[in-house]
């Protein structure tokens, strides 16, 4: 047992770190540090930089542009991305639909979609949730009726992140209305430019626009865009939700946030002394660091177990807690940063277009509250923490 990285792993980390340091555009890095929204162009530009290095779809098999890295290297790579901080490759393509297409898609689908995902030529979004199908995802009602060589899709998806930027959406649709819940669901790829697709923005409490509703009104989709077999979509969705185990806790994000909190708390003065010297503040911060270190080791246990298992079998039981603990800790960092900013967190209303310092405060102060509100989503998306606990109770504790 040795929890330290080997010299080879450290060399790999240094290689990744120095590449990111050199290649990440300063403007993107600043936005990440300050908690400002990235533009579509920012995300595309960075992913193409990674793609030129051969690292945009590091998690994929080599034949489709992946790196062949093991779980520990994958982990190190993502942690370095998070700590830079840099945007990660667009998840909807790289970590979600990409692996599904690789595992279950046709040869034609692979050739058509995968290279364009890697280079972010196609921006994908996820069409799973519906107004009446949230945690109970299998209650989804959007239908796809077979009509000759096409499906005709009707219904509504919601909470769709970046639908406003998307070229394609991967959807769970009901293809057999007579079958019980999970049985009649298929996995369908839909061109966002299709006739009958309408996107409506949803403004969230942080004041931003990330999520949307998508309406489908007699949208005709070529049957070739069905992934795998009809009515097997639920299995593919489960594969998708379970396929990312090596970075679900986002430890690097929280590490970067703690570093940032320390930097800002050293700058903020309370009665002539830095906030960072305040005993109660320090205890709070130290307490969060302990939680984060524990989570980091737990994450590494899962990564090491993934390597031993070499992709076979069920994930380590500890992996189930990563999402829950990871979200709680990320949210705690956002809360702490809000406290660091203090009264200066009250001015509100930062848009995408604001650049330099503002008359009523500094940029880093302006983003604390929106980030705090925005990050409440982390314990909701991808299966709420309560759903995660149901899963742990059933599958690990046997309750």
């Amino acid at each position: 047992m040795d929890l330290r990285f080997t010299p080879e792993e450290i060399a790999f980390r240094d290689e990744v770190r120095s590449f990111i340091r050199a290649a990440l555009p300063a403007s993107i890095r600043h936005k990440m540090v300050e908690g400002r929204d990235l533009s579509r162009d920012d995300v595309v530009a960075w992913q193409r930089i990674l793609n030129r290095r051969g690292w945009s779809v590091a998690n994929w098999p080599k034949e489709w542009g992946g790196t062949g890295w093991g779980p520990i290297q994958q982990y190190i790579f993502m942690e370095e991305i998070q700590m830079a901080p840099a945007p990660r490759p667009l998840a909807y393509g790289v970590f979600m639909v990409g692996p599904v297409i690789i595992a279950f898609g046709s040869e034609a689908q692979k050739r058509r979609f995968l290279p364009r995902i890697a280079n972010l030529d196609d921006w994908w979004c996820q069409g799973f949730s519906e107004p009446a199908a949230g945690s109970d995802l299998a209650a989804l009602k959007t239908t796809a009726r077979r009509d000759g060589g096409e499906y005709v899709v009707n219904g509504q998806k919601t909470w769709t992140t970046y639908a406003q930027y998307a070229d394609w959406v991967f959807c769970l649709v009901r293809t057999d209305p007579a079958a019980k819940k999970q049985r009649g669901i298929s996995f369908l790829l839909i061109d966002m430019k299709s006739k009958g697709v309408v996107v409506r923005p949803i403004e969230t409490i942080d004041g931003g626009h990330e999520i949307n509703e998508i309406f489908f009104d007699d949208v005709r989709v070529p049957a070739d865009n069905l992934v795998g077999e009809e009515n097997k979509g639920w299995d593919y969705a489960k594969f998708l939700l379970g396929s990312e185990r090596t970075n679900i806790a986002r430890v690097g994000v929280s590490k970067e946030r703690i570093r940032r909190i320390k930097e800002l708390a050293a700058r903020v003065q309370v009665r002539g002394r830095p906030l960072l010297d305040d005993d109660i503040f320090r205890r709070k911060l130290a307490s969060l660091e302990v939680e984060l270190k524990a989570l980091e080791i737990t994450q590494l246990r899962v990564v090491a177990a993934e390597r031993n298992r070499a992709g076979r079998g069920t994930p380590d039981p500890a992996s189930s807690i990563l999402k829950i603990k990871g979200s709680e800790i990320q949210q705690a960092t956002a809360e702490l940063l809000l406290q660091v900013v203090g009264p200066q967190a009250m001015p509100y209303g930062l848009g995408d277009d604001i650049g330099g310092a503002l008359a009523f405060g500094e940029l880093w102060e302006m983003t604390a509250a929106p980030t705090y509100y925005n990050w409440r989503k982390i314990s909701i998306y991808g299966g709420s923490n309560e759903i995660q606990k149901n899963i742990v109770a059933r599958s690990i504790l046997g309750l």
Binding site: M1, L3, E9, D279, V290, K293, L397
Partner: protein, 383 residues
């Protein structure tokens, strides 16, 4: 990076787990607890036969040159079984002092007897006024001819009423909390001038107040330099912290499993109470707390070998914070989920709860260590 045990480590784990399953049922434990010394000599001999008492000592001294991982394995198993024997005091604390401080003659005279199960020891360091300060030593050692005269009182000497020998920290120079001027003295527990008052601790184990009245120690009884004892102790306390963390994880894991089993068996309102979501989620919260604690025990085990004392100290404090919090949470919730039966002495859960509470307090509780960590600038310093 890997978390795998070696073949040898797995064998040690198997044999100690087997021994405890065999010789440490809850009923047997209750019996051992009522023995004169509050623990079982027969089981202690079994530990010796299995080589557990030899594990951390150097091969040269008759030990097995085990690493902190072996210690972790054994302590976790002891935590699971709620073992009563003076392993922590003899092997981890006193044994640690001997490993880090003793001269060749002392090691030769003592370690083989420990390994054979013939001698038990306790560390007499804590004093009532110290609270969690580790450098507080008021007991004095004054030069007398070619030896020393020890005078004063030590408290909370773990199993000090039943051990054969004590290692007493005493001030050879300087004021009560000076970093220098503390020596460590080997003292026969039955030596003239030593009086021991034994009492039970909250977890059903025992401790003693040791009064030293003009106790003579020879030069040969001094472990290490007579003014540098605290630096030996600092190292040993870090190792002891890692060991405690592992023991606590064993106890937490067993207590959590016991509680989940109970949820699957107990029926109310015509259903298993484990079917209630509120209780399921509580059991999951306990599980998360356990896994976080396990991770920090692993972290402590890894970091305890670090030669960087500041880094090592931060890691031990961080681990102790997590262990203390997880232990308290799992202990309290286990009692709550069991309901009335959890409150009784005839059921195992309460005993785990109390041992976990003790392990939090031992060597500084979670609040104390959080303060240490905070004062030192936090855990993530060079990343």
């Amino acid at each position: 990076m890997d978390f795998d045990l070696t073949e040898d480590q797995r064998m040690i784990q198997d044999s100690v787990e087997r021994l405890m399953a065999d010789r440490y049922t809850f009923e047997l434990r209750q019996k051992y607890r009522r023995e004169a010394e509050g623990w079982s000599r027969a089981v202690w001999r079994k530990y010796a036969e299995l080589g557990l008492l030899a594990l951390p000592f150097d091969q040269q001294d008759g030990g097995l040159s085990g690493t902190p991982v072996e210690t972790m394995i054994v302590m976790e198993s002891f935590g699971r079984a709620l073992a009563l024997e003076p392993f922590f005091g003899t092997i981890i604390l006193a044994g640690g002092i001997l490993r880090h401080g003793a001269g060749a003659a002392q090691r030769e005279a003592i370690i083989p007897r420990i390994v054979a199960g013939e001698m038990t020891l306790a560390l007499a360091h804590h004093e009532r006024e110290a609270r969690y300060a580790r450098d507080h030593v008021a007991v004095t050692a004054k030069r007398s001819g070619d030896g020393w005269i020890l005078q004063g009182r030590k408290d909370l000497v773990l199993q000090g009423d039943s051990v054969d020998r004590l290692i007493v920290s005493a001030r050879t120079a300087g004021a009560t909390q000076d970093a220098d001027g503390v020596g460590l003295f080997l003292v026969d527990a039955r030596a003239q001038g030593v009086s021991r008052h034994g009492y039970p601790t909250q977890d059903g184990l025992r401790a003693a107040t040791v009064t030293l009245d003009s106790v003579h120690a020879s030069t040969a009884d001094v472990v290490g330099h007579p003014a540098q004892g605290l630096s030996i102790l600092a190292r040993v306390f870090d190792e002891a912290t890692a060991a405690i963390c592992a023991e606590a994880v064993g106890a937490m894991a067993a207590l959590h499993a016991l509680t989940v089993d109970y949820l699957k068996q107990r029926e109310q309102f015509g259903v298993k109470i484990g079917s209630f979501q509120a209780l399921q989620h509580r059991a999951v919260d306990m599980f998360m707390s356990l896994e976080q604690a396990r991770s920090m025990a692993l972290f402590a085990t890894m970091m305890v070998s670090s030669s960087n004392a500041a880094e090592r100290g931060r890691a031990m404090s961080a681990a102790k914070v997590q262990i203390g919090r997880s232990g308290r949470y799992i202990g309290e919730q286990a009692i709550q989920l069991h309901g009335g039966i959890g409150m009784t002495m005839e059921y195992k859960a309460g005993h785990y709860f109390k041992r976990l509470t003790m392990l939090d307090i031992l060597l500084g509780d979670s609040e104390h260590h959080l303060g240490e960590l905070a004062a030192g600038g936090g855990l993530f310093q060079d990343e």
